[in-house]
Amino acid sequence: QTALDMTNEYEPNSIHGQGDQFFAEQVNNSGAGVEITLHLGGALGFRSADNLDAVGDGVVPIADTLGGVLAGSDPIFLVGSLPFVAANPEEARALYEAARPYYEAFFEEHGQMLLYASPWPSSGLWANEVVDTVEALAGLTMRTYDVNGTRTLIAAGASPIQLSWADVVPQLATGGIEGVLTSAEGGVNASFHEHLSHFTEINYAMPLNFVHMNRDAFEALPPEGQQAIVDAAAATDARNWQALADRVSLNYETLRGQGVIIVEEITPELQAHLADAASVVLEDWLEQTGDAGAAVLSAYGESVGRSY
């Protein structure tokens, strides 16, 4: 019997919390003598930014990590949150598959292995009005979750603000910020409906979380244990992408029940305006990542029939 701990910083009912619970159950019920204890909500004291070193040093054998925080080690991890590159679950998955060899090589280099990805539903604009025109977006004070979002919104004429997640709800309640760039999921989890009336779908990006495991810890397992992990990872990967579509419709249903208006269409002008703003971010990213970034985007372009 081998006991393995796994850490993530998300709530039990969040999409990542549920995916990881599924993974742990698969392994624990496989009869391979491996018992995973999942520590949700950062209960073990580690945040996403700590996980690369925590897993690399063998402190925690398995962790679920927000891709964006790894950008400081390798900018390839920003591909998931590049604005307006992947608009739906199919495209997000294609993008993931295109970049996967690079992700795997990165974790390998750090003494780890990539088990599966856990995608976020698409980010949109939470606000107290329909944000479907260039004018509506102008000057809107919005909380963003990463560098790409901040730079895109600056270029688009909005006023992005960086806040810690715990400060977001108090700031919304008091009108300190006017909106948030996040998914419908994020808004459901933090009860945004109490403060904001509209979610405008702009199909901004679908960032990824990565679940990675310490290589030595994996190799120390008996063959059937290793197999159980690999099988559970594959099953969870499939489940997560499947769950994504269901999750979006479930979130929308919840939000409509709470009286939130979901705007699924924006004006072509705004679409073009946002694409312009995003192109700067995209170019900078390509410059930062060099050949690797270009290779990922061209492979992705091929699979979805666009050219980058």
């Binding site: 964006g68 790894l70 400081g72 004070t141 006023s159 992005p160 960086q162 806040l163």
Partner: protein
């Protein structure tokens, strides 16, 4: 005012003997660390006020508030450790000390200081390993500022180094001090 500590570290240690310079060095470094911790507090204040002003008057942000202020809190905590140990601000439970004979008290004092020295050295070593690795890898934060991560970790490292030196000085002070001299503290 009587502090919570049964004894702060000796201020003047004539009995440090040949280790006197270690004690003086520890004291000076502790004070420098404390000065840096004060700067960290002032920086925290300034950055938050700047952020509030930017957000409310100019609808923009420094985009690095929680990152920078977080590093300032950790710098403050660790850089002030040495001076806090030296002056006895780091609290401890002195119950047993008050009710045992002087000789046993001295043993307890030495155990306490040796604990601080060993935990401090242990942490110092591994934080040092981490700083070195961050430096070699060139890891940065994922924010817009892309701060090299070895910088904030190095502040923790300096703080721990001062703390370890101060604990060493404290232990030397205890070893070279006769039990009677404790009232001078």
């Amino acid at each position: 005012m009587r502090r919570g500590l049964a004894c702060a570290l000796p201020e003047q240690i004539p009995r440090g003997g040949e280790y006197g310079p270690v004690i003086t060095l520890a004291k000076n470094l502790s004070r420098i660390g404390n000065g840096a911790a004060i700067l960290a507090l002032v920086f925290m204040f300034g950055h938050i006020i700047l952020e509030i002003t930017l957000r409310n008057l100019f609808h923009t942000s420094t985009f690095v508030l929680d990152e920078f202020v977080g590093h300032a809190v950790s710098a403050l905590t660790f850089l002030a450790l040495g001076e806090a140990l030296r002056t006895g601000t780091l609290i401890r439970v002195s119950l047993l000390h008050d009710s045992v004979p002087d000789s046993a008290k001295r043993v307890l004092e030495m155990f306490a200081m040796a604990s601080a020295l060993s935990v401090g050295s242990f942490a110092l070593w591994f934080v040092g390993v981490s700083v070195l690795r961050q430096f070699e890898r060139g890891t940065t934060s994922a924010s817009i500022a892309q701060i090299p991560l070895w910088i904030p970790e190095a502040l923790v490292l300096f703080g721990l180094a001062i703390f370890v030196l101060q604990a060493l000085a404290g232990l030397i002070g205890l070893i070279f001090r006769t039990p009677q001299s404790e009232e001078t503290v």
